[in-house]
């Protein structure tokens, strides 16, 4: 459970797996944080509400991840954990070069290969990021 990276030549392709929606969103938070800041310890002093308006669960997850990318690009906000589900809230903190190291930039999450499906007793999602 959590996330793992799959082969992709130029960009980053990931699969998220969790028993439920909360776990899936936490896996997305972990993915974005670790891709941009590696294993830097990230605190939870700040909280951001993330408004996601979507027609279905797949699009909802996509738009949530897209907001995480936007928050990092505009505020340097590193997500740590899901703080609430309705409305969606994420705890984390801003990038601090004294305590965090930067790994790479995520330009965007794409809809190429995007999928969300029930897998056995849980949920499984795939997504490709442009780096």
């Amino acid at each position: 459970m959590g996330y793992r990276l799959l082969p992709h030549t130029a960009d980053l392709r990931a699969v998220l797996e969790a028993p439920d929606r909360a776990g899936l969103y936490q896996a997305a938070v972990d993915l974005v944080r670790e891709v941009v800041a590696g294993d830097s310890p990230v605190g939870g002093a700040e909280e951001r509400a993330i408004e996601v308006d979507a027609a279905d669960e797949q699009e909802r997850l996509f738009r949530f991840v897209r907001e995480l990318v936007y928050l990092y690009d505009t505020e340097g906000f590193l997500p740590r954990e899901i703080a609430g589900a309705d409305p969606l809230r994420v705890r984390g903190e801003r990038f601090d070069p004294e305590r965090h190291h930067s790994e790479r930039q995520l330009k965007a999450v794409t809809r190429h290969g995007l999928r969300l499906e029930r897998d056995g007793g849980g949920l499984r999602a795939e997504m490709v990021f442009d780096l």
């Binding site: 082969p7 130029a10 936007y70 990092y72 690009d73 790994e103 330009k107 809809r111 442009d130």
Partner: protein, 498 residues
């Protein structure tokens, strides 16, 4: 006409239609993907035997060439350059043209980094002159030009009015502020400003992302690279471009930064709705599009051109800081005399007249990881380049070499005036990192005379030379096919990575 061995289906993203892809070799440099299934046209891949062998592990790229051929109004083949690799909708290294009547514009055919591109400067010093001061220059460039994730400039934060001016004027905005010369504008594709920009179509979110990112490298495969002219294949053309033997050069590779990424994101949402509304069947949602001339296409066109102008301004500002770095290390008279060889976009859609079926027609050419390569005599080129043809800049990896080519009449006739844009990745970033982990890349490159400065170790590892095809193989294909003409080869001396 021999039939090539089809590439084997890739593991990974499951494909309902993961059948063998038929490939027909036309000549030593061209492979045809015959029209089949829902394709509206055939695919044309520029590849010799070696490049095609590499693509055995890259079936997704060829499938994306096929996917593009499904889009309505496509004119001519769906084209793949020899640096083609798996993208996220269009392949990277893809070219496709669409008829304004019945054709489409697709944000996925331009990409998130709108007008990602390269520019090349040449300095009035030789590599031998620079070598004793190279370390100081690398450090100065690294200090002067912010690189890495979320890099920003506190000295160049734009208010809305200034940002609007950037979005309309492109590189000209920077020149008007003293960050360059009028001569620079003559050496930039489209004079450094694309018509059709409409700042009103650029969202508040996009503006927020770009506000303080002008003059920054960014991350990933973006870079500033100091090098030197190592080989000249056409001395007369090289002289005309200022590429003297052993002359020091500076490459800049960057794009429209967060502003462009957000423009693409915003319009993908709109285009998904538009595709459904106009009944366009999509083999991949990332190819969503709208008919040219529709309100959705017009809105994207205004925003895309605005973002492209932001990118031209970004590279112009970066070039200013490159000149300042050279001035600090080598003296003011050197910094002032860094000449712009050329600046090209390689993620863009443009309306251009082309000869199709014996008549001239305007088409919307999408270049996704491909470079415009106009021939000698083309009226869009500044008179300085009219007799030569347009310079085509092909950066390679950070350990080997890069090339300067010229556009040709063959490219104009066959590829909508387009050529390749780089070496093309062959290893995933994970595989590259795995290979790099036990090694000390900066030390290896330093031993080869190449200094590296980077914001993160991850970037260096992911960008190891072996992660890319040998750009010589790519360039040999376009030269052999006649869609580009080799002028000079450059070798790196110092690389600043994001």
């Amino acid at each position: 006409m021999a039939t090539e061995t089809a590439v084997r289906p890739a593991s990974g993203i499951p494909q309902a239609a993961a059948a063998r892809i038929p490939l027909e070799r036309l000549d030593p440099y061209r492979v045809r993907i015959p029209r089949h299934g829902g394709m509206r046209t055939e695919g044309l891949l520029f590849a010799d035997r070696r490049i095609l062998d590499d693509l055995e592990h890259e079936q997704e790229a060829l499938r994306q060439v096929i996917n593009v051929a499904h889009l309505p109004g496509i004119v001519g083949p769906s084209i793949a350059m020899p640096d083609v690799h798996w993208g996220y909708g269009f392949p990277i290294g893809g070219v496709a043209a669409f008829d304004p009547a019945g054709g489409v514009v697709s944000p996925g055919g331009v990409g998130y980094d709108i007008n990602c591109g390269v520019r090349l400067l040449v300095a009035p010093v030789t590599a031998a002159d620079l070598r004793p001061r190279l370390e100081e220059l690398a450090d100065t460039l690294f200090e002067t030009i912010p690189s890495g994730i979320g890099s920003s400039r506190s000295d160049l934060v734009l208010d809305d009015a200034e940002l609007d001016a950037v979005l309309l004027e492109g590189a000209g905005w920077a020149v008007r502020r003293g960050l360059g010369t009028a001569r620079d504008l003559e050496a930039i594709e489209a004079g450094g400003a694309l018509p059709g920009a409409d700042p009103a179509q650029v969202s508040r979110r996009a503006r927020r992302r770009g506000r303080d990112q002008l003059g920054t490298v960014g991350s990933g495969n973006h870079f500033v690279e100091v090098g030197h002219v190592a080989e000249r294949f056409d001395p007369a053309a090289a002289d005309a471009l200022g590429l003297a033997p052993d002359a020091v050069t500076a490459f800049i590779h960057s794009g429209s930064r967060g502003l462009g990424h957000q423009v693409c994101d915003d319009y993908l949402d709109l285009m998904l709705e538009a595709s459904a509304r106009y009944g366009i069947e999509l083999p991949d949602p990332q190819l969503c599009c709208a008919p040219l001339g529709s309100p959705e296409a017009d809105a994207y066109w205004g925003a895309m051109n605005a973002a492209a102008n932001f990118a031209f301004a970004n590279r112009q500002v970066m070039a200013h800081y490159v000149r300042r770095a050279f001035a600090r290390v080598l003296g003011e008279e050197i910094g002032d005399r860094l000449l712009l060889v050329y600046d090209v976009a390689h993620n863009i859609a443009k309306l251009e007249p082309h000869r199709i079926g014996g008549e001239e027609r305007t088409v919307c050419v999408h270049r996704k990881g491909a470079t415009r390569a106009f021939p000698p005599g083309h009226p869009d080129l500044h008179p300085r380049y009219r007799d030569l043809g347009q310079p085509v800049l092909i950066p390679g990896d950070m350990g080997r070499y890069s090339y300067v080519l010229l556009g040709t009449a063959q490219a104009y006739d066959e590829t909508f005036g387009s050529c390749c844009h780089g070496a093309g990745r062959r290893l995933s970033r994970r595989a590259a990192k795995r290979q790099a982990r036990p090694r000390n890349l900066p030390a290896e490159l330093a031993a080869a005379g190449i200094l590296v400065r980077a914001a993160s170790r991850a970037t260096i590892d992911e960008e190891i030379p072996e992660a890319y095809k040998d750009v010589r193989d790519v360039v040999d294909v376009v030269h052999g096919a006649g869609i580009g003409r080799k002028v000079a080869m450059l070798k790196p001396m110092a690389v600043i990575k994001g």
